[in-house]
């Protein structure tokens, strides 16, 4: 199955390993991701000031490109922020005919919300199915206890973006279970990671990330798995500092789900960006001979 794919800036740069793993593992289960021939920034934050035309025009432009790409009505992305922005903009256009006209005039193209924006996990769950994923597993992640961390972008606001229970999400957990890993239950799967506060005040981000990681480890997790590039960055990077601040703190590697998926499917993980991890995933990877 062919689907239009929007990588976004993060997966094109610092998250290249995430992107490589997504493309390879989706291809392995029969989802052919076709990168949009021409794409621009998603807009990066959903327009809170709806008058700011540029913040609506950028994602609208992407949506038009997706419609014109000729790969069916679906547009998918693996970046949770891009997903949130594109999905909400699409929703906004569908529900605000007056604003839509202004956007159309600005981007010089007609668009009424024909594209359906789906997060890559959503697509994997509903189009491929986790049972089908399980059937293709070559190296099951047996005995690996993982804490699945969703952040907020695919869950909130629920009415516009959620494809999972916003308070008790389980899509990632289900995927990890299909790959043979053991997802642990912990209460902070959907807590805020601090997001862009990392730029302004890394100390606040640390304060937000610490209880999440502590709780995951208390539940027995040896690794954290996430679907959000910003969450991955915050959870991963802050741990180096946390080791200095919290005596005896033992860091855990933070994976993208697609990295573990590629691993379990027996794909070549050479281009998965391991060198970019702040906390080395070596100990975990070693168990599968990587």
């Amino acid at each position: 199955m062919k689907v239009s794919y929007f990588p976004g800036c993060t997966l094109n740069t610092t998250g290249k390993g995430f992107d490589n793993a997504v493309r390879a593992s989706m291809a392995a289960v029969g989802l052919e991701l076709v990168e949009l021939p021409e794409w621009n920034c998603c807009g990066a934050t959903f327009p809170l000031i709806v008058d700011n035309m540029l913040e609506l025009a950028a994602p609208a432009h992407v949506l038009v490109a997706a419609r014109n790409a000729g790969n069916g009505p679906l547009l998918t992305t693996a970046c949770t922020t891009c997903y949130n922005v594109l999905r909400r903009t699409n929703h906004f256009i569908r529900h605000h005919p007056d604003e839509r006209e202004r956007i159309e005039a600005f981007i010089e193209a007609g668009y009424s919300g024909e594209v359906e924006v789906k997060d890559i996990l959503h697509l994997l769950r509903d189009q491929v199915g986790f049972d089908a994923v399980r059937d293709r597993v070559q190296k099951p992640l047996t005995d690996l206890k993982v804490a699945c961390y969703y952040g907020c972008m695919v869950l909130r606001p629920p009415a516009e973006v959620a494809y999972d229970d916003p308070d008790h999400p389980h899509t990632l957990d289900d995927l990890m279970a299909a790959l043979g890993a053991t997802p642990v239950d912990f209460p902070h799967k959907n807590e805020c990671c601090g997001a862009y506060l990392a730029v302004k005040d890394a100390g606040i981000t640390r304060q937000m990330v610490y209880p999440i990681l502590k709780s995951a480890q208390a539940a027995g997790a040896e690794a954290v798995v996430t679907n959000c590039p910003l969450c991955q960055f915050n959870l991963d990077k802050q741990q180096a500092e946390m080791q200095k601040l919290h005596a005896g703190y033992q860091p855990v590697p933070v994976f993208y789900f697609s990295q573990l998926m590629g691993l379990a499917l027996g794909l070549d993980s050479g281009e998965y960006g391991w060198e970019r991890h702040y906390i080395s995933p070596g100990a975990v990877l070693g168990r599968w001979g990587e």
Partner: protein, 463 residues
């Protein structure tokens, strides 16, 4: 049709405190009442309560004289464990079809000796006790049950009528085809596994709808554990834990392990005053009952700490504000002005993340027990009844009054009246007042029919 042909009997739907008040007022005036109740016994939610605000009266003690009167009154025809199946006709001449669910016990024969409920080997989570999962505690002897909490049960030791019913969804005979222990121990042969529903037709001249309320389900409150954390309970469950006739005989124990909780957090406005996610309205009674519950908890657990998270305190009522002050000052209940964002289980505790907006600081409490005040919502079945009667409910399902200010007890249809919390959140005194008010409306109709011998414009249209 002349006045002599109008039925001077009244149908009352719901035998909670409002419906019972209306029934007794009308019956004591000499007119016949048909009182229909969905549960196996009368009393409604008040029957579940421990004590009442602001006087701390024992709810059961002040209620039981009423329930007994209702049960024995020669002018009250009581249909419990029954529902309205159809209603036709109009003022002066309504035809009502009532369906009684099979109790699998012949109540004519039953002497309420209690042998069946005592010997029944199957403990079940009971709706009356808010399905508190006390089965484990029950086995360890920490939980008392006098005929409640089994697959054959009465709602409470004080139930009126005190006749048991079998819940076939739990009963071993209905589920697995064995047991029949209750049949063996019944000295009068009242157990009847083959019992069928029964239908009754009644003709009445007026109707009072006293259908009451329920609580917004915890399962819809994802941020508070979605009903999956055993030590997060709703306020009615807390009433059962505080009640001497409850599953723990009035000792406050938390459901997960039966320990007496040392730190208890109450969360107000859960699903109320929440236009984004649930109900926009105020449920009105929560501020008062949570103060009462915190107070009662402190009276039982002197070294315990009670916290109440609130948006603001609504204590409009006679001696209500003084009651809140008493909770704060005498019983040292800690009031925290702010919402709770999240409740989760950790290390055997229920951790509450909230904010105190008076200090502007986030608050974390590692509690043993969390009590939620969910929104009041209309009883299940209110909409169905509304369709049957061609009456309207509002967007939340509450009965629509004929006119909010001057006709709060009337509906748009002559001869059909409202009483109690079915038309919106109300506390006990209000529900009782409405019960008496609706009874007065009906009695003035009957009285006019007797004097004038016919319907007047007064009856069929409002001036």
């Amino acid at each position: 049709m002349t006045g002599q042909d109008y039925s001077k009997r009244v149908l009352i739907v719901g035998a909670g405190i409002a419906g019972m008040q209306a029934a007794l007022d009308i019956a004591n005036s000499g007119y016949e009442v048909v009182l229909v109740e969905r549960l196996p016994s009368v009393g409604g939610h008040m029957h579940q309560l421990s004590e009442t605000f602001p006087t701390l009266d024992c709810a059961q003690c002040i209620l039981t004289p009423r329930t007994v009167d209702v049960g024995r009154h020669e002018k009250i025809r009581l249909h419990v464990y029954s529902e309205i199946e159809a209603i036709g006709g109009e003022i002066g001449n309504f035809q009502v079809r009532i369906r009684r669910k099979p109790a699998y016990v012949n109540w004519e024969l039953c002497t309420a000796c209690g042998a069946c409920t005592e010997k029944c080997p199957t403990p079940i989570p009971v709706e009356f006790d808010r399905r508190l999962e006390m089965a484990r505690l029950m086995r360890s002897g920490q939980v008392r049950h006098e005929g409640t909490g089994k697959a054959i049960y009465t709602l409470s030791p004080q139930a009126v009528p005190k006749k048991p019913v079998i819940d076939p969804s739990y009963c071993t005979w209905f589920q697995k085809g064995r047991c029949r222990l209750c049949e063996k121990v019944c000295p009068v042969g009242a157990i009847d596994y083959e019992q069928q529903p029964a239908w009754f037709d009644e003709r009445v001249g007026a109707i009072i709808l006293a259908t009451g309320f329920e609580l917004y389900p915890l399962s819809k409150l994802g941020e508070y554990g979605a009903g999956q954390v055993p030590d997060v309970i709703d306020a009615l469950a807390m009433e059962r834990l505080l009640s001497a006739s409850g599953p723990t005989a009035g000792v406050v124990r938390r459901p997960s392990d039966g320990r007496v909780p040392r730190e208890v957090v109450w969360i107000q406005c859960a699903g109320s005053r929440d236009p984004e996610l649930a109900m926009p309205y105020c449920s009105k009674i929560c501020c008062m009952y949570s103060a009462k519950q915190a107070m009662l908890y402190k009276h039982k657990v002197h070294d315990g700490q009670a916290y109440i998270f609130y948006i603001d305190i609504r204590s409009a009522g006679k001696r209500y504000e003084e009651f809140i002050q008493r909770a704060m000052e005498e019983d040292r209940v800690l009031y925290l002005r702010g919402k709770v964002s999240k409740v989760f289980r950790e290390n055997g505790k229920v951790v509450v993340w909230g904010v105190d907006t008076l200090t502007g600081l986030p608050v974390e409490v590692a509690a043993d027990l969390v009590v939620i005040s969910p929104a009041m919502v209309p009883s299940e079945g209110t909409r169905r009844l509304a369709e049957m009667l061609d009456l309207t409910v509002d967007e939340f399902g509450w009965w629509t009054e004929a006119e909010g200010n001057l006709a709060p007890l009337e509906t748009k249809r002559p001869g059909i009246f409202l009483a109690g919390a079915g038309s919106g959140p109300k506390d006990i005194p209000e529900a009782v007042s409405q019960g008496s008010g609706a009874a007065g409306k009906v009695l003035s109709l009957f009285s006019r029919w007797e004097r004038a011998g016919h319907l007047s414009s007064h009856d069929v249209g409002r001036e």
